[in-house]
Symmetry: C2
Subunit: 355 residues, 2 copies
Amino acid sequence: MLKTTTKLLVASALVAGLSTAAFAKDKVYKWKLATTWGSTLSPFIDAPTNMAKLAKEMSNGRLDIRVDAANKHKAPLGILDMVKGGQYEMGHSASYYWKGKDINTLPFTTMPFGMTAPEQYAWFYYGGGLELMQKAYKRHKVLSFPGGNSGNQMGGWFRKEINSLDDLKGLKMRIPGFAGEVLAKLGVTVTNIAPGELYTSLERGTIDALEWVSPSMDVNMGFHKIAPYYYTGWHEPATELQFLVNERQFKRLPKDLQKILITAMRVAAYDMYIQNYHMNAVAWAKIATDYPNVKIKTLPKNVINAMKKANDELLVEKAKESPLIKEVLKSQKEYLKKAREWTKMADYKYLEDNL
Amino acid sequence: MLKTTTKLLVASALVAGLSTAAFAKDKVYKWKLATTWGSTLSPFIDAPTNMAKLAKEMSNGRLDIRVDAANKHKAPLGILDMVKGGQYEMGHSASYYWKGKDINTLPFTTMPFGMTAPEQYAWFYYGGGLELMQKAYKRHKVLSFPGGNSGNQMGGWFRKEINSLDDLKGLKMRIPGFAGEVLAKLGVTVTNIAPGELYTSLERGTIDALEWVSPSMDVNMGFHKIAPYYYTGWHEPATELQFLVNERQFKRLPKDLQKILITAMRVAAYDMYIQNYHMNAVAWAKIATDYPNVKIKTLPKNVINAMKKANDELLVEKAKESPLIKEVLKSQKEYLKKAREWTKMADYKYLEDNL
């Protein structure tokens, strides 16, 4: 009996060791992610939702991330603070929302007259952009990753045609952020209005024009019913959202879960770019069919040139605000120059013959 | 003693059960992947290499895929057969290589005058393309997935300028596949020459022109040293490579490893598109600096139109070969029409003002 018991003891000890390891490996990390977006704001909300689903499936349930939309946490523009403070392990938002808090975070979403989506992804992943973004968020002890690209955003809905620089003077337009600063320099009265009041404001003439996103998200707002001119974009050629991760929490994850999380974020970001490409194509086909009077317009060349000049002047000012933003803007400018030459001889020339 | 022994027995049985589960979960799947590419053919070879690395890291070593380059297995164009036959669990190649074996596999790589990379990814993932590709490979008992996009490929290196349709007549050009069929209809003498002999053939005038890939991969071939005209592309606007997976082997993987594999393939594919965008920008900057006499040319409008007509005629013929290819070509045509409207008002209009 003793012999058997000893065997059992040894076996038990051995297997107990194994099972401890198995338990450690099976530890479930329950995380929470806060987004800036409402629970129905597709495709923005789909990026974190798809990311969380992928992470859970790939980890066999060991990395379980709950996504809280803005309607739940009520702090759509408090994402960086909540991730930094640890109330949420992760966030999903757009970096340029924190420009008032930390100017260095401005250039990682998109810049007027800047890179297109493939150019910008190339900059992030192969041209040093991601390293610069991590550098900008380092002081917040937050890791940051590309979180999904909207592609080219439209210039907005206008009730009157813009034929000259004079037409911009006194024009009342809802256009937030850096693009608003550019237009303000050209005499536009830039206002900000809550999303829920935009339609009525445009309909009643409280504003003459507004910028929202692109057909995929504009279609549900209904602006095409009351504004006949849909201007092509110049101000957000490739709006990249961001995933934010509390650095301390990230370091606590086992190596395989870190890799699963990083990969899930990366693929969800790319997917959102492609999803929105699809949604834009479908939504525009619908608008064009239902409202054939909507006209696609491009701002006149001299207006574009004046906006570029205003933009360049603003960039010179921004570059003075910190050595890091200066470094980032320089890196973007140099990369854009090189990448655009390729875009020109590849996709642009191809499209010229295939419109 | 009995009591303790019983306890031990129970504990042992319990823990043995656990450890069996733990062992099952820890089972390592050792797979092999065969690629069409040589071990140094970047970025094509990077897609399967990066995919395998990611799968291994995310699975904590449980999914271990060895990548065999063509120099190892010596059957660069035998990938479908080897995956189908089970010698390799996976392959990485380009679907259009099997058009002689199964015409239905032709349209999933790229088509002349077809979709650009974001349009085509949107078609694959949100427009029904992936389902159609799975349908085409079903009879081979092989699963197929996007495997990395080259982006727009250049039209090729020419020693003489093409100013008219007459200049195409009797022109000796190396251009394989469907694009070669299009040019043959316009009087081009289409030849195929082994890669290692291309440079000498072009230098000695055995051929007048050749198509390879784009700056990233052309730069190492040195064609820019001997051919002054670099024509923009029309024939491969978005060459998507493919991952192939033996269906029976895939089904043997646990659910989490299946998800890890699918995600690793998906992100590696997107990454290759972006990597090549970067490599093209860098390589073109180098060619343009070192060889300032190289001229970017676009074929004259009437030549393009004649090629489009020849292409349309060929597509009508191909569509007759099987109900499935007819369905796929129709799906692509309809999707392209819708997606191109968006491309035109978004990236194309933006680039027009920002070249």
